[in-house]
């Protein structure tokens, strides 16, 4: 495996997945982005600045925490949490936003745009735009603006313009469509800070590379804490950026099981979910890449459902599609109610309020831990904190804030 796993290829394909499915106007822009990224990726000065920002601005490395009380209660495998929730802005999204902003700066772009679902990537982009003195416009589905009002206010405080998207399902995919329309119109002045490891090449590779700091740190931290690597690494998968950031450095660690957790919504059988890999969705093309895609028999994209806005997306990054087909990673789904139960458990047992997205990963760990012996170790990526979800959770519990 060490010798064979080398993706994407030079044209941005992960096997049959990925690629550059974009309108002609944007093709030169993504080609230029590829050139610039490849130029700076190994540039010592770029790497040093990225590392500096991650350390001093984001607060990395993020710790690994042994959730001892929760593990004891479950009575099986030990659950460890990679604490991305402790990053500045409260999620893993900032790792990628910093990386892309540093690239935008070198490319002379003064205006950045972003799509956002839960608002965490929007907040991260607004944050780095303020940090580097760039104009920032964030596209967000009108439905998500309702669900994530606090994050909308945060972005505005940071000086960003938040544009509500009223088309289609009014969620993340529609925000992507609108950001692409902005980019095609302002292609020369604007850098599109894409939030997940999907989209046209080079985004899946570039976002993965910036997020790999998660897995690279974990690979050093776990031996310090337990004298070895964990038995499994577990992360939630919407587009899949926090997951690929944790998984990628572990791909060649054959003894480590890799588990991606999709949003099962009301259950796969109900059809109201956002789990293309688990539900065996057909391969399709959306937002610049070929991936497993939730669609009807006519190739129209179907509205997805998840309790967590950040996972409410019909596609998934191309590298996850490949890892599934290769059998290197396993993908499962966790339903809304299971994610909520995990959310509650982490609050009560560990004093940590997780994001609803991350609660999906945790829920799967809680599901399998009791079936495993006490000397087994599960490392869960706690990709974000749950402050943004107060309204959603309160509403579900019938409480008015």
């Amino acid at each position: 495996m060490a010798l064979t796993y080398n993706y994407p290829d030079s044209t941005g394909h992960f096997g049959i997945f990925g690629g550059t499915y974009m309108a002609e106007t944007l093709i030169p822009a993504v080609a230029e982005l590829s050139r610039q990224y490849l130029r700076y990726r190994d540039d010592p000065e770029f790497k040093a600045e990225f590392a500096y920002e991650l350390k001093h601005y984001v607060g990395r490395p993020s710790p690994v925490y042994h959730a001892r009380r929760l593990s004891d209660d479950l009575g099986g495998a030990q659950i460890y949490l990679k604490r991305e929730d402790l990053n500045h802005t409260g999620a893993h999204k900032i790792n990628n936003a910093i990386g892309q902003a540093l690239l935008a700066k070198r490319m002379g772009k003064k205006r950045v745009i972003a799509e956002t679902g839960a608002g965490m990537h929007g907040v991260a982009t607004a944050t780095v735009a303020a940090r580097f003195g760039m104009e920032c416009v964030v596209y967000m589905g009108a439905e998500d603006i309702q669900r994530q009002a606090a994050n909308v206010f945060r972005m505005k405080l940071l000086g960003a313009t938040v544009v509500p998207v009223e088309s289609g399902s009014k969620t993340l995919k529609d925000a992507c469509n609108e950001a692409i329309r902005d980019w095609v119109t302002n292609v020369e002045s604007t850098f599109y800070i894409f939030g997940t490891a999907a989209g046209p090449h080079p985004y899946p590779m570039m976002v993965r590379d910036f997020q790999c700091v998660i897995g690279n740190e974990a690979k050093l931290q776990m031996p310090e804490m337990i004298g070895r690597q964990p038995d499994a690494v577990i992360a939630c998968v919407g587009g899949g950026s926090n997951a690929i950031g944790l998984f990628y450095p572990y791909i060649e660690e054959k003894n480590v099981q890799i588990i991606g957790v999709e949003a099962g919504g009301h259950g796969i059988a109900s059809g109201k979910h956002a789990a293309p890999l688990t539900a065996n969705a057909k391969v399709g093309v959306l937002h610049g890449n070929k991936v497993y895609l939730i669609q009807d028999e006519n190739g129209q994209i179907i509205e997805t459902h998840s309790i967590s806005a950040g996972l409410d997306y019909p596609g998934v990054g191309p590298e996850h599609c490949l890892l599934k087909d290769m059998g290197r990673a396993q993908y499962v789904a966790i339903n809304d109610d299971e994610a909520l139960a995990a959310f509650d458990a982490l609050c009560r047992f560990e004093g940590i309020i997780p994001a609803l997205e991350s609660s999906h990963a945790l829920a799967h760990a809680m599901k399998i831990a009791p079936t495993m012996s006490k000397d087994k170790v599960l490392l869960v990526n706690l990709s974000g904190r749950g402050d943004k979800d107060m309204n959603t959770v309160a509403k579900l519990k019938g409480i008015t804030l």
Partner: protein, 266 residues
Amino acid sequence: MSRIQVTFAKLKQQRRKALIPFITAGDPSQQLTVPLLHALVEAGADVLELGVPFSDPMADGPTIQRASERALKHGMSLRGVLEMVAEFRKQDATTPVVLMGYGNPIEAMGWETFARRCAEVGVDGVLTVDFPPEESHDAFEHLQAHGIDPIFLLAPTTNDARIQQVAKLARGYVYYVSLKGVTGAGHLDLDAIAQKIPQLRKHISLPIGVGFGIRDAATALAVAKLCDGVVVGSRIVQEIENSTEQNVVANVGKLVKELRLAVDQA
């Protein structure tokens, strides 16, 4: 010679420019699409671009987005669009029909089935907005095998190397996107088009149609002077949106007649 070749050859002989209107199949209703296509031809259309609605039309502005939403609400599918072309062909054997849309509905059907059906029903060309030459191997192979022309986009951002790449693959005509933006945008720059067309002509021997942002007789005339054909989409779709089921065919016919008169002055 294909219908597209015959059409452009005849226009060249007559020293006229092509008028290429666009409508979305299934908008305002499935029953009205074929009558609208005939009305477009009667009003002077040379080539018809028929939009295949898609749930996520990333390259389109609000007008065509709404048309796609209306069409999908009425149950329009790629299968249905192909049937409409078959219906249209019963009365019109000569006007070229080009399907325009996004790749996923075709991926879902399969390129081989799609290309075969296109040939059966009388589709002449296919333009897939989000499939650039780099990702068009499958598409190209199957379309070619069934004699369907792959129509490619060129843009203000397209450089010489890419123009040459498109020149190798394109058949029928090429579609030059007049501006950086989405369909129906309001910032047409005639000087920029005038500068770009000679650069395209250096490598492209096919006719060049220009579209995006052409919204009245005056802009249609100005653009027609610079190229071989004028594509008008959002303006016609807007007329459909603002009409009733009773007067839509007449209104669209009247608008296209005005555009025809303008283009013929070029």
